[in-house]
Symmetry: D2
Subunit: 301 residues, 4 copies
């Protein structure tokens, strides 16, 4: 797995829809072309921000293929696997491999919450990793799932040769630190929360998968490079710039907010699929104000 | 819709799997044949207890068809629609109609929790009800979804001519009472929690969809009939008998526990699909003890 | 303990404050004089609605004494004990006995939430009951405490000869039913939630301690008597009348809302102590509308 | 307030009790004498770890006086104010001033959770700060209180001239960063969670109040000095050493665990007051193993 460039910044690419609600693959390609200029390590297809749970099986395949085709050869393509049974997670990982993905980002199952013990997670990820043709990243996102995989469980799963890392979006800095401390150095800990990017990198996180990187990829890459270069002053300053924008397009307004911010910054956003709804015009103004506040986009007045 | 016999008890039929993990349709048919003797009002296919989230689209179709074929002509068949986008919920309702279902039990969408406002629920259910060929029941099950649709929202949706009721599994007696109070008399309020069956019926609930009715259908039907007949003493006594069993096969051990209890009572249970796991032998003994404690099954020693 | 009239309705009496924020004992007496006409079983002093946590030790003593002096001889006086250590709970129970209370309503300790296991509750209530000169009622109110004492724990504590019952304000009908089922018949289960009064009485609850009984004591007493008389139709109808008022003065607007409702209904309300604040004038109008909606107070136009 | 040395590490001093459950002031003095060698910035009396909620008013006074008397002249003494009404919080702040404290650490009120809006917090802290003779630190500790004061609210309160800072124990790195970003540079942000000490200091926190500093004060001080000196490698290494010990004596075993760890490390621990209970012998062994694992105490074998 030495060829994996998980070190760095990955945007969880949004899926554009046209006015009739169908996936706009051309728009997706044009976003990827823009991102290719930005020093990103790769792309996550079919993440939460990609509205994976709103896409059909066929659409999921085409989204991966479109991103793969648009990406540069050095980019790593990570495909989200958001399935509720072990059996369908394995199928989705196989389909992702067939579509050209390089790794699978497999969410913790989350429907039968009372039964989703840490033992259930161990069983699920072990079986998926045994049978997946792609290396597996564990995906922890309690904001959406309502369940948490603990650091001790992740550390146990890190011993599996086909489980290469975790994307942790919970925003729990103590837990990310504990995962880093308890896992082998080769285990890839990716932070999934723009509000704690700088401190996570300071604690040793390998990289990040961030909603905010869909709207402001360069600022995230610069922050990453500043930390790598030991310029902690600069890292902290950039963290303070991206934090409010990160907050409003995740905890605040979610995917619709992220898509609105992307539009303001020259990318294709577009409407989300229902039950999500486009942001109101007043929320759009709030986003614009926050973008200005970051000081990162002098072109936005 | 006057032909709907939603008044009464509906089991949310479990889906049996064979040892290789495939759906055992013959076993499903044999369970339905047994249930046909028990005075039930109909069946819910593809509910949470039916492991709908573990089934493929094709399996979902065949499960509905199998139950429909096995049911008596007077039985109402309600099909669960457990989808995360409005678009796919409409598709699933259409497919359920094609498979012979009489009504669709549509879960609140639950992935983007922070965006799942009451307004989002209104939009979702209105659009689904507009386009569904089947009358719609709202499904509230926060134990699994992590979101709650409020009584005021349900009451607002009750004005839609294609939204005929709600199945409320939250176990919140105050909320069920408020829904009953705020909705028109024709709106069908079904309780989905065996621990509050008797008090819900006393407050005016039309009927019930209960996991425990998969294992102990006759006791549930007897309780229902006792309340209808004004025999409140008997209703309360039966409530006290079914409550501990209801608790252990829902909040306690979940679907695997329910399947184990069904086996002890002469039905086909079988293993759940992963990430759920069969109950341990010690849990099996706990279930057996609770079955004995109910005093409802003298044949179980 | 045969002389305890826990069967019936108890208001958790509010504590009036004058404009300078001191306890207005005369106003308290006048409220009690009004309540004495209403068929109540007794009074709870120093409950959550009595703002016990806002009162000094000396004020607590005088509040109990004032209520005791104003009550009729047949009334039972229950004193709230809201302390975070076992040691101080015992002291408070002793002080309550000295002030003339007949029973102590002892809240689950709630500060060190992670340590408040069911075992901790058993230790706490056992030691308090061992040393309290007054019989003890367990008080479960997770809305305020953030902790829950389970039915199994309550049932275990019910074996202690000085623990005579529970006031359960959680609003969890299933849990109240389980407590009733698992406890001896002599154990007094008092519901503390106006939204589930009728169903709780139908399941066998002995009586109730209800915020709404501070504003609408007669309706609560009538409901209680209707159930005793087997007039379930009337019980349910009254439940539907009190429910919205109960909701707005508890879950909705809390103690300030309850005090505002009391004022509209001819009792002394007055401002709460900070950090609580008097309700806004628009909230006051909402309360008035709900009072009208109940149809119980033709004098309110 | 320029003489405040809030920059640095403060232990929230535990309160030792003797076998009869009374406060052991001599033991408290001996702990302070030990701590005086460790480079700490001062002491917090009457914090959560000091079991403030288990102490009488008189005991609270003597605890502050004892710590004040034992501390070196350059030490800042911060007194916890854990009261549920605004009125009693003001009284406690006045009493703390009389006992020699230099600042008051005032917890968010937490009983009437549904009424504890951000506006209620603004009113409470404003009135307390207006009337407190001591400068006020806001105390956020949702693990114990079940309520959260938000960064935006803290930033608003930071404009009050007598509110000098916050101790945030929630462990939410994103929120601490947001508080730092939105508050004036002079506002003192103290982290209250040992699991995120290093990243909080990297983001600009002034100092820390940490349970773990009661057991391992020198390691915390060294970490603080390493960050001040720009030795981030050393800071991270120390973070990884203290984290597991911090976890087991806070989220894991709480105050009883902290007291047990202190005993193993040559300080006076002793039993907590009920309803807290001394740790079991097996938990004691777990703590000892974690102490060894830190590598910070070669004398512990």
């Amino acid at each position: 797995m030495s060829n994996f460039k998980l070190s760095g910044i990955f945007p969880p690419v949004t899926t554009p829809f046209n006015e009739s609600g169908d996936v706009d693959y051309a728009a997706l390609s044009s976003n990827i072309a823009r991102y290719n200029e930005d020093g990103l390590a790769g792309y996550v297809a079919l993440g939460s921000n990609g509205e994976v749970v709103h896409l059909s099986t066929e659409e999921r395949t085409r989204v991966i293929e479109t991103i793969k085709r648009g990406a540069a050869s050095e980019h790593t393509i990570i495909a989200g696997v958001n399935e509720l049974s072990t059996r369908s997670a394995i199928e989705a990982a196989r389909a992702a491999a067939d579509s050209g993905a390089n790794a699978a980002l497999v969410v913790t199952p989350y429907y039968y919450k009372a039964s989703m013990t840490q033992e259930a997670f161990v069983r699920h990820f072990t079986e998926v990793a045994d049978k997946s043709p792609l290396p597996v990243l564990i995906y922890n996102v309690p904001q959406n799932t309502g369940v948490v995989i603990e650091s001790a469980t992740i550390a146990k799963l890190a011993a599996h040769q086909n489980i290469i890392g975790v994307k942790d979006s919970a925003g729990n800095m103590g837990a990310i630190s504990e995962t880093l401390r308890r896992s082998p150095a080769s285990f890839q800990v990716m932070v999934g929360n723009g509000g704690i990017l700088f401190p996570s990198l300071m604690m040793g996180a390998t990289g990040a998968v961030l909603a905010i990187a869909c709207a402001a990829p360069r600022a995230c890459v610069e922050l990453f490079l500043a930390v790598k270069a030991g310029d902690h002053q600069r890292g902290r300053e950039l963290q303070n710039r991206i934090a409010p924008l990160s907050h409003i397009v995740t905890a605040g307004l979610g995917v619709p907010g992220l898509k609105a911010a992307m539009e303001m910054l020259g990318l294709v956003g577009g409407p989300p699929r229902a039950p999500l709804a486009a942001v109101s015009s007043s929320d759009r103004e709030r986003i614009r104000a926050v973008i200005r506040e970051t000081g990162l986009f002098p072109e936005i007045e």
